[in-house]
Symmetry: C2
Subunit: 219 residues, 2 copies
DNA sequence: AATTGTGAACCTCTTCACAGCT
DNA sequence: AGCTGTGAAGAGGTTCACAATT
Protein backbone atom coordinates (compact mmCIF):
# COMPACT_ATOMS: atom_id res chain seq x y z
CA UNK A 1 0.00 0.00 0.00
CA UNK A 2 1.47 3.32 -0.87
CA UNK A 3 1.11 6.57 0.99
CA UNK A 4 -2.39 7.93 1.16
CA UNK A 5 -1.55 11.58 1.65
CA UNK A 6 -3.59 13.96 -0.41
CA UNK A 7 -1.84 14.23 -3.76
CA UNK A 8 -2.06 17.30 -5.97
CA UNK A 9 -1.28 15.28 -9.06
CA UNK A 10 -4.52 13.41 -9.31
CA UNK A 11 -5.28 10.21 -11.17
CA UNK A 12 -6.07 12.16 -14.34
CA UNK A 13 -2.64 13.78 -13.99
CA UNK A 14 -3.35 16.97 -15.87
CA UNK A 15 -0.14 18.84 -16.73
CA UNK A 16 0.13 22.39 -15.40
CA UNK A 17 0.68 23.81 -18.90
CA UNK A 18 -2.74 22.47 -19.80
CA UNK A 19 -4.34 24.17 -16.79
CA UNK A 20 -2.69 27.45 -17.78
CA UNK A 21 -4.10 27.10 -21.28
CA UNK A 22 -7.55 26.40 -19.85
CA UNK A 23 -7.35 29.81 -18.18
CA UNK A 24 -6.63 31.39 -21.55
CA UNK A 25 -9.46 29.49 -23.27
CA UNK A 26 -11.75 30.64 -20.51
CA UNK A 27 -10.71 34.27 -20.97
CA UNK A 28 -11.25 34.18 -24.73
CA UNK A 29 -14.60 32.45 -24.38
CA UNK A 30 -15.81 35.15 -21.99
CA UNK A 31 -14.76 37.80 -24.50
CA UNK A 32 -16.50 35.95 -27.33
CA UNK A 33 -19.67 35.54 -25.26
CA UNK A 34 -19.64 39.28 -24.47
CA UNK A 35 -19.33 39.91 -28.21
CA UNK A 36 -22.41 37.79 -28.78
CA UNK A 37 -20.61 34.85 -30.42
CA UNK A 38 -22.62 31.67 -29.82
CA UNK A 39 -20.41 28.99 -31.34
CA UNK A 40 -16.74 28.48 -32.12
CA UNK A 41 -14.53 25.75 -33.61
CA UNK A 42 -11.31 24.50 -32.03
CA UNK A 43 -9.51 25.93 -35.06
CA UNK A 44 -10.85 29.45 -34.58
CA UNK A 45 -10.31 29.49 -30.81
CA UNK A 46 -6.82 28.03 -31.04
CA UNK A 47 -5.81 30.65 -33.60
CA UNK A 48 -6.63 33.40 -31.09
CA UNK A 49 -3.93 31.87 -28.91
CA UNK A 50 -1.41 30.97 -31.57
CA UNK A 51 -1.55 27.27 -30.78
CA UNK A 52 -2.59 24.20 -32.75
CA UNK A 53 -6.23 23.13 -32.79
CA UNK A 54 -5.26 19.60 -31.82
CA UNK A 55 -3.62 21.01 -28.71
CA UNK A 56 -6.88 22.62 -27.63
CA UNK A 57 -8.84 19.44 -28.24
CA UNK A 58 -6.31 17.31 -26.33
CA UNK A 59 -6.44 19.74 -23.40
CA UNK A 60 -10.21 19.45 -23.20
CA UNK A 61 -10.03 15.66 -23.59
CA UNK A 62 -8.55 15.41 -20.08
CA UNK A 63 -11.96 16.42 -18.77
CA UNK A 64 -14.48 15.06 -21.26
CA UNK A 65 -16.06 15.73 -24.64
CA UNK A 66 -17.62 19.17 -24.77
CA UNK A 67 -18.01 19.79 -28.49
CA UNK A 68 -20.32 18.70 -31.30
CA UNK A 69 -18.68 17.07 -34.33
CA UNK A 70 -19.18 19.13 -37.41
CA UNK A 71 -20.29 22.17 -35.42
CA UNK A 72 -17.70 23.05 -32.77
CA UNK A 73 -18.25 24.29 -29.22
CA UNK A 74 -21.05 26.25 -27.61
CA UNK A 75 -19.33 29.37 -26.27
CA UNK A 76 -21.51 29.82 -23.20
CA UNK A 77 -21.54 26.11 -22.42
CA UNK A 78 -17.79 25.55 -22.71
CA UNK A 79 -17.12 28.73 -20.77
CA UNK A 80 -19.12 27.54 -17.80
CA UNK A 81 -17.67 24.03 -17.97
CA UNK A 82 -14.18 25.53 -17.80
CA UNK A 83 -15.16 27.67 -14.81
CA UNK A 84 -16.31 24.52 -13.05
CA UNK A 85 -13.11 22.67 -13.93
CA UNK A 86 -10.92 25.56 -12.78
CA UNK A 87 -12.94 25.81 -9.59
CA UNK A 88 -13.69 29.49 -10.12
CA UNK A 89 -17.42 29.09 -9.61
CA UNK A 90 -17.09 29.44 -5.85
CA UNK A 91 -15.30 32.38 -4.20
CA UNK A 92 -11.94 32.13 -2.38
CA UNK A 93 -10.73 33.98 0.69
CA UNK A 94 -7.24 35.35 0.15
CA UNK A 95 -4.67 36.96 2.45
CA UNK A 96 -1.59 38.94 1.43
CA UNK A 97 1.65 38.72 3.41
CA UNK A 98 3.39 42.08 3.20
CA UNK A 99 1.53 45.39 2.83
CA UNK A 100 3.97 47.14 0.48
CA UNK A 101 3.78 48.46 -3.06
CA UNK A 102 3.05 45.08 -4.60
CA UNK A 103 0.23 44.53 -2.14
CA UNK A 104 -1.18 47.93 -3.16
CA UNK A 105 -1.09 46.83 -6.77
CA UNK A 106 -2.86 43.57 -5.91
CA UNK A 107 -5.59 45.11 -3.77
CA UNK A 108 -6.35 47.72 -6.40
CA UNK A 109 -6.21 45.22 -9.27
CA UNK A 110 -9.74 44.93 -10.64
CA UNK A 111 -9.20 41.47 -12.17
CA UNK A 112 -9.34 39.37 -9.00
CA UNK A 113 -12.67 40.10 -7.35
CA UNK A 114 -14.89 39.42 -10.37
CA UNK A 115 -13.21 36.02 -10.70
CA UNK A 116 -13.97 35.12 -7.11
CA UNK A 117 -10.68 35.90 -5.37
CA UNK A 118 -11.50 38.11 -2.38
CA UNK A 119 -8.59 39.64 -0.51
CA UNK A 120 -9.79 39.63 3.10
CA UNK A 121 -6.70 40.44 5.12
CA UNK A 122 -3.25 41.98 4.83
CA UNK A 123 -0.40 41.17 7.20
CA UNK A 124 2.72 43.21 7.93
CA UNK A 125 5.23 43.85 10.71
CA UNK A 126 5.40 47.63 10.20
CA UNK A 127 3.80 49.42 13.17
CA UNK A 128 2.84 52.32 10.92
CA UNK A 129 0.73 50.04 8.75
CA UNK A 130 -0.80 47.73 11.38
CA UNK A 131 -4.37 48.69 12.25
CA UNK A 132 -4.81 50.84 9.15
CA UNK A 133 -6.67 49.97 5.99
CA UNK A 134 -5.45 49.51 2.43
CA UNK A 135 -8.22 49.93 -0.16
CA UNK A 136 -10.70 49.02 2.54
CA UNK A 137 -8.80 45.94 3.72
CA UNK A 138 -7.48 45.67 7.26
CA UNK A 139 -3.73 45.40 7.91
CA UNK A 140 -3.01 43.00 10.78
CA UNK A 141 0.13 42.41 12.80
CA UNK A 142 1.89 39.45 11.21
CA UNK A 143 2.38 38.06 14.73
CA UNK A 144 -1.36 37.31 14.73
CA UNK A 145 -1.01 35.23 11.53
CA UNK A 146 -2.67 31.98 12.72
CA UNK A 147 -5.58 33.84 14.29
CA UNK A 148 -6.16 36.00 11.20
CA UNK A 149 -6.03 33.05 8.77
CA UNK A 150 -8.55 31.22 10.95
CA UNK A 151 -10.84 34.21 11.47
CA UNK A 152 -11.19 34.97 7.74
CA UNK A 153 -11.24 31.34 6.60
CA UNK A 154 -8.25 32.01 4.33
CA UNK A 155 -7.64 29.42 1.60
CA UNK A 156 -4.95 31.11 -0.51
CA UNK A 157 -2.00 33.19 0.70
CA UNK A 158 -0.10 35.63 -1.51
CA UNK A 159 3.52 36.14 -0.45
CA UNK A 160 4.99 39.60 -1.12
CA UNK A 161 7.45 39.88 1.79
CA UNK A 162 11.25 40.16 1.47
CA UNK A 163 13.25 36.99 0.86
CA UNK A 164 14.76 36.89 4.37
CA UNK A 165 11.43 36.30 6.13
CA UNK A 166 9.46 34.60 3.35
CA UNK A 167 10.31 30.98 4.19
CA UNK A 168 9.55 31.36 7.89
CA UNK A 169 6.16 33.00 7.36
CA UNK A 170 5.36 30.50 4.61
CA UNK A 171 6.10 27.61 7.00
CA UNK A 172 3.75 29.15 9.56
CA UNK A 173 0.97 29.29 6.98
CA UNK A 174 1.55 25.66 6.01
CA UNK A 175 1.30 24.70 9.69
CA UNK A 176 -2.02 26.54 9.83
CA UNK A 177 -3.23 24.31 7.01
CA UNK A 178 -2.95 26.68 4.03
CA UNK A 179 -2.49 24.60 0.89
CA UNK A 180 -2.17 27.17 -1.92
CA UNK A 181 0.32 30.00 -2.30
CA UNK A 182 1.04 32.66 -4.89
CA UNK A 183 4.68 33.60 -4.32
CA UNK A 184 6.15 36.89 -5.54
CA UNK A 185 9.31 36.65 -3.43
CA UNK A 186 12.37 35.81 -5.55
CA UNK A 187 13.13 32.45 -3.96
CA UNK A 188 11.86 28.87 -4.17
CA UNK A 189 9.88 28.18 -1.02
CA UNK A 190 10.86 24.75 0.32
CA UNK A 191 7.79 22.60 0.68
CA UNK A 192 6.27 19.15 0.37
CA UNK A 193 4.73 19.04 -3.09
CA UNK A 194 2.27 16.36 -2.09
CA UNK A 195 0.67 18.66 0.50
CA UNK A 196 1.06 22.20 -0.76
CA UNK A 197 0.86 23.98 -4.13
CA UNK A 198 3.06 27.01 -4.76
CA UNK A 199 2.72 29.14 -7.89
CA UNK A 200 5.80 31.29 -8.40
CA UNK A 201 5.62 34.70 -10.02
CA UNK A 202 9.21 35.77 -10.41
CA UNK A 203 9.63 38.96 -12.40
CA UNK A 204 13.37 39.27 -11.83
CA UNK A 205 13.87 35.76 -13.18
CA UNK A 206 11.72 36.58 -16.22
CA UNK A 207 13.83 39.68 -16.86
CA UNK A 208 16.95 37.52 -16.84
CA UNK A 209 15.32 35.14 -19.29
CA UNK A 210 14.76 38.16 -21.57
CA UNK A 211 18.39 39.15 -21.06
CA UNK A 212 19.46 35.65 -22.09
CA UNK A 213 17.43 35.74 -25.29
CA UNK A 214 18.65 39.24 -26.17
CA UNK A 215 22.23 38.10 -25.62
CA UNK A 216 21.69 34.99 -27.78
CA UNK A 217 20.14 36.92 -30.64
CA UNK A 218 23.05 39.34 -30.80
CA UNK A 219 25.42 36.66 -32.01
CA UNK B 1 17.77 28.35 -48.38
CA UNK B 2 15.52 28.98 -45.45
CA UNK B 3 14.57 32.28 -43.95
CA UNK B 4 17.42 34.23 -42.45
CA UNK B 5 15.49 36.27 -39.93
CA UNK B 6 17.06 36.51 -36.54
CA UNK B 7 15.86 33.49 -34.59
CA UNK B 8 15.53 33.45 -30.81
CA UNK B 9 15.85 29.69 -30.65
CA UNK B 10 19.50 29.43 -31.53
CA UNK B 11 21.42 26.46 -32.80
CA UNK B 12 22.09 25.27 -29.26
CA UNK B 13 18.33 25.39 -28.71
CA UNK B 14 18.32 25.82 -24.96
CA UNK B 15 14.89 25.18 -23.44
CA UNK B 16 13.37 28.04 -21.50
CA UNK B 17 12.95 25.89 -18.36
CA UNK B 18 16.70 25.47 -18.38
CA UNK B 19 17.25 29.23 -18.57
CA UNK B 20 14.87 29.73 -15.65
CA UNK B 21 16.84 27.20 -13.61
CA UNK B 22 20.08 28.96 -14.52
CA UNK B 23 18.62 32.06 -12.82
CA UNK B 24 18.00 30.00 -9.69
CA UNK B 25 21.48 28.48 -9.74
CA UNK B 26 22.87 31.96 -10.12
CA UNK B 27 20.89 33.22 -7.14
CA UNK B 28 22.00 30.36 -4.89
CA UNK B 29 25.62 30.69 -5.96
CA UNK B 30 25.59 34.39 -5.06
CA UNK B 31 24.20 33.52 -1.63
CA UNK B 32 26.83 30.81 -1.15
CA UNK B 33 29.61 33.16 -2.21
CA UNK B 34 28.37 35.76 0.29
CA UNK B 35 28.46 33.05 2.95
CA UNK B 36 32.08 32.39 2.09
CA UNK B 37 31.51 28.99 0.44
CA UNK B 38 34.26 28.34 -2.14
CA UNK B 39 33.20 25.08 -3.70
CA UNK B 40 30.01 23.08 -4.20
CA UNK B 41 28.97 19.79 -5.80
CA UNK B 42 26.08 19.40 -8.22
CA UNK B 43 24.40 17.23 -5.58
CA UNK B 44 24.55 19.90 -2.85
CA UNK B 45 23.46 22.74 -5.15
CA UNK B 46 20.64 20.74 -6.70
CA UNK B 47 19.28 19.82 -3.26
CA UNK B 48 18.86 23.53 -2.45
CA UNK B 49 16.46 23.64 -5.38
CA UNK B 50 14.74 20.29 -4.88
CA UNK B 51 15.84 18.99 -8.26
CA UNK B 52 18.04 16.07 -9.36
CA UNK B 53 21.80 16.57 -9.61
CA UNK B 54 21.78 15.17 -13.14
CA UNK B 55 19.34 17.91 -14.12
CA UNK B 56 21.77 20.58 -13.01
CA UNK B 57 24.67 18.99 -14.84
CA UNK B 58 22.62 18.61 -18.04
CA UNK B 59 21.56 22.26 -17.83
CA UNK B 60 25.17 23.39 -17.60
CA UNK B 61 26.18 20.99 -20.41
CA UNK B 62 24.32 23.19 -22.91
CA UNK B 63 27.04 25.78 -22.36
CA UNK B 64 30.18 23.85 -21.60
CA UNK B 65 32.01 22.01 -18.83
CA UNK B 66 32.48 24.21 -15.77
CA UNK B 67 33.25 21.71 -13.02
CA UNK B 68 36.17 19.62 -11.90
CA UNK B 69 35.61 15.87 -11.66
CA UNK B 70 35.96 14.64 -8.13
CA UNK B 71 35.77 18.17 -6.73
CA UNK B 72 32.65 19.96 -7.94
CA UNK B 73 32.23 23.60 -8.99
CA UNK B 74 34.04 26.76 -7.97
CA UNK B 75 31.27 28.97 -6.57
CA UNK B 76 32.75 32.29 -7.67
CA UNK B 77 33.73 30.92 -11.08
CA UNK B 78 30.42 29.29 -11.92
CA UNK B 79 28.55 32.31 -10.66
CA UNK B 80 30.35 34.62 -13.06
CA UNK B 81 30.03 32.16 -15.96
CA UNK B 82 26.28 32.08 -15.40
CA UNK B 83 26.10 35.89 -15.32
CA UNK B 84 27.86 35.93 -18.70
CA UNK B 85 25.52 33.29 -20.13
CA UNK B 86 22.43 35.10 -18.84
CA UNK B 87 23.76 38.36 -20.23
CA UNK B 88 23.46 40.13 -16.89
CA UNK B 89 27.01 41.42 -16.92
CA UNK B 90 26.02 44.45 -18.93
CA UNK B 91 23.23 46.84 -17.88
CA UNK B 92 19.87 47.14 -19.66
CA UNK B 93 17.71 50.21 -20.20
CA UNK B 94 14.10 49.49 -19.33
CA UNK B 95 10.85 51.43 -19.81
CA UNK B 96 7.52 50.77 -18.10
CA UNK B 97 4.23 51.26 -19.96
CA UNK B 98 1.63 52.37 -17.44
CA UNK B 99 2.47 54.39 -14.31
CA UNK B 100 0.01 52.77 -11.91
CA UNK B 101 0.34 50.72 -8.74
CA UNK B 102 2.25 47.91 -10.39
CA UNK B 103 4.68 50.40 -11.86
CA UNK B 104 5.18 51.82 -8.36
CA UNK B 105 5.97 48.34 -7.09
CA UNK B 106 8.46 47.81 -9.92
CA UNK B 107 10.26 51.12 -9.56
CA UNK B 108 10.61 50.67 -5.81
CA UNK B 109 11.65 47.03 -6.09
CA UNK B 110 15.27 46.81 -4.97
CA UNK B 111 16.00 43.60 -6.88
CA UNK B 112 16.27 45.01 -10.40
CA UNK B 113 18.93 47.69 -10.31
CA UNK B 114 21.69 45.58 -8.71
CA UNK B 115 21.16 43.02 -11.46
CA UNK B 116 21.60 45.60 -14.17
CA UNK B 117 18.01 46.42 -15.11
CA UNK B 118 17.67 50.20 -15.01
CA UNK B 119 14.20 51.66 -15.34
CA UNK B 120 14.79 54.86 -17.31
CA UNK B 121 11.34 55.99 -18.34
CA UNK B 122 7.67 55.56 -17.46
CA UNK B 123 4.86 56.16 -19.94
CA UNK B 124 1.21 56.91 -19.24
CA UNK B 125 -1.78 58.71 -20.76
CA UNK B 126 -2.98 60.28 -17.50
CA UNK B 127 -2.45 64.05 -17.62
CA UNK B 128 -2.06 64.12 -13.84
CA UNK B 129 0.93 61.83 -14.02
CA UNK B 130 2.66 63.10 -17.18
CA UNK B 131 5.62 65.35 -16.41
CA UNK B 132 5.85 64.19 -12.80
CA UNK B 133 8.37 61.77 -11.31
CA UNK B 134 7.90 58.34 -9.75
CA UNK B 135 10.76 57.35 -7.47
CA UNK B 136 12.96 59.73 -9.42
CA UNK B 137 11.90 58.44 -12.84
CA UNK B 138 10.21 60.71 -15.35
CA UNK B 139 6.64 59.97 -16.52
CA UNK B 140 6.24 60.74 -20.23
CA UNK B 141 3.14 61.09 -22.37
CA UNK B 142 2.60 57.73 -24.04
CA UNK B 143 2.02 59.63 -27.30
CA UNK B 144 5.75 60.32 -27.31
CA UNK B 145 6.54 56.58 -27.10
CA UNK B 146 8.87 56.26 -30.14
CA UNK B 147 10.83 59.35 -29.16
CA UNK B 148 11.20 58.25 -25.51
CA UNK B 149 12.33 54.73 -26.44
CA UNK B 150 14.91 56.19 -28.79
CA UNK B 151 16.11 58.89 -26.38
CA UNK B 152 16.80 56.45 -23.52
CA UNK B 153 18.07 53.61 -25.69
CA UNK B 154 15.40 51.30 -24.28
CA UNK B 155 16.01 47.57 -24.81
CA UNK B 156 13.30 46.01 -22.63
CA UNK B 157 9.71 47.22 -22.16
CA UNK B 158 7.53 46.23 -19.20
CA UNK B 159 3.81 46.27 -19.99
CA UNK B 160 1.51 47.15 -17.07
CA UNK B 161 -1.34 48.89 -18.95
CA UNK B 162 -4.96 47.66 -19.12
CA UNK B 163 -5.82 44.88 -21.57
CA UNK B 164 -7.74 47.16 -23.96
CA UNK B 165 -4.71 49.23 -24.96
CA UNK B 166 -1.93 46.69 -24.36
CA UNK B 167 -1.79 45.16 -27.83
CA UNK B 168 -1.74 48.53 -29.61
CA UNK B 169 1.06 49.98 -27.49
CA UNK B 170 2.97 46.70 -27.73
CA UNK B 171 2.76 46.83 -31.54
CA UNK B 172 4.13 50.37 -31.49
CA UNK B 173 7.11 49.23 -29.41
CA UNK B 174 7.78 46.35 -31.80
CA UNK B 175 7.73 48.82 -34.71
CA UNK B 176 10.30 50.88 -32.82
CA UNK B 177 12.54 47.82 -32.72
CA UNK B 178 12.02 46.64 -29.13
CA UNK B 179 12.69 42.90 -28.98
CA UNK B 180 12.05 41.98 -25.33
CA UNK B 181 8.92 42.46 -23.24
CA UNK B 182 7.84 41.63 -19.73
CA UNK B 183 4.05 41.51 -19.88
CA UNK B 184 1.88 41.86 -16.76
CA UNK B 185 -1.35 42.47 -18.68
CA UNK B 186 -3.67 39.45 -18.56
CA UNK B 187 -3.63 38.68 -22.28
CA UNK B 188 -1.35 36.97 -24.79
CA UNK B 189 0.25 39.66 -26.90
CA UNK B 190 0.13 38.60 -30.56
CA UNK B 191 3.63 38.64 -32.00
CA UNK B 192 6.10 36.98 -34.29
CA UNK B 193 8.12 34.64 -32.09
CA UNK B 194 11.06 34.72 -34.43
CA UNK B 195 11.52 38.45 -33.92
CA UNK B 196 10.30 39.27 -30.43
CA UNK B 197 10.47 37.61 -27.02
CA UNK B 198 7.59 38.10 -24.57
CA UNK B 199 7.76 36.85 -20.98
CA UNK B 200 4.30 36.70 -19.45
CA UNK B 201 3.71 37.31 -15.77
CA UNK B 202 0.06 36.50 -15.23
CA UNK B 203 -0.97 36.51 -11.59
CA UNK B 204 -4.67 36.04 -12.26
CA UNK B 205 -3.91 32.92 -14.31
CA UNK B 206 -1.66 31.62 -11.54
CA UNK B 207 -4.48 32.14 -9.03
CA UNK B 208 -6.78 30.06 -11.22
CA UNK B 209 -4.16 27.33 -11.40
CA UNK B 210 -4.18 27.31 -7.59
CA UNK B 211 -7.96 27.19 -7.66
CA UNK B 212 -7.80 24.19 -9.97
CA UNK B 213 -5.42 22.29 -7.71
CA UNK B 214 -7.47 23.12 -4.60
CA UNK B 215 -10.59 21.87 -6.37
CA UNK B 216 -8.84 18.66 -7.46
CA UNK B 217 -7.50 17.90 -4.01
CA UNK B 218 -10.95 18.20 -2.44
CA UNK B 219 -12.20 15.10 -4.22
C1' DA C 1 -18.87 19.19 -45.66
C1' DA C 2 -17.25 20.38 -41.40
C1' DT C 3 -15.30 19.49 -37.15
C1' DT C 4 -14.63 16.73 -33.02
C1' DG C 5 -12.22 13.04 -30.27
C1' DT C 6 -8.32 10.07 -30.10
C1' DG C 7 -4.63 6.42 -30.99
C1' DA C 8 -0.13 6.56 -32.80
C1' DA C 9 4.00 9.00 -34.04
C1' DC C 10 6.90 12.43 -32.83
C1' DC C 11 9.58 15.51 -30.24
C1' DT C 12 11.38 17.52 -25.96
C1' DC C 13 12.92 17.33 -21.43
C1' DT C 14 14.31 14.41 -17.43
C1' DT C 15 16.58 10.69 -15.24
C1' DC C 16 19.67 6.91 -15.16
C1' DA C 17 23.98 4.86 -15.17
C1' DC C 18 28.57 4.76 -15.92
C1' DA C 19 32.96 6.01 -18.20
C1' DG C 20 36.43 9.31 -17.36
C1' DC C 21 38.95 12.62 -14.78
C1' DT C 22 41.19 14.50 -10.34
C1' DA D 1 37.14 7.64 -3.62
C1' DG D 2 34.48 11.35 -5.26
C1' DC D 3 32.21 13.85 -8.61
C1' DT D 4 31.58 15.56 -13.37
C1' DG D 5 30.08 15.00 -18.20
C1' DT D 6 27.29 12.42 -21.29
C1' DG D 7 25.09 8.67 -24.17
C1' DA D 8 21.09 5.99 -23.70
C1' DA D 9 16.63 5.09 -21.71
C1' DG D 10 12.44 6.89 -19.91
C1' DA D 11 8.61 10.07 -19.15
C1' DG D 12 5.81 13.65 -20.58
C1' DG D 13 3.74 16.78 -23.84
C1' DT D 14 2.65 17.95 -28.76
C1' DT D 15 1.25 17.09 -33.35
C1' DC D 16 -0.53 14.20 -36.89
C1' DA D 17 -3.97 11.95 -39.23
C1' DC D 18 -8.18 9.83 -39.55
C1' DA D 19 -12.41 7.45 -37.98
C1' DA D 20 -16.66 8.99 -35.96
C1' DT D 21 -20.40 12.15 -35.82
C1' DT D 22 -23.66 15.83 -37.06
Amino acid sequence: MDDNLMEFRTSTNVPEVTVRRLCQYSRHLEDLRDQGVKNISSKALSELMQIKDSQLRKDLAYFGAFGVRGLGYDVEGLSSRLATILGTVKPYSVAVLGAGNLCAALTSYPGFKPHGFHIQALLDNDENKIGREFHGIQVYDVKRLPEVLEMHGIEIVIVTVPVKIAQELFDQCVECGIKAFLNFAPLRLMHDRTKVKVADVDASCSLKVLSFFLTQSEE
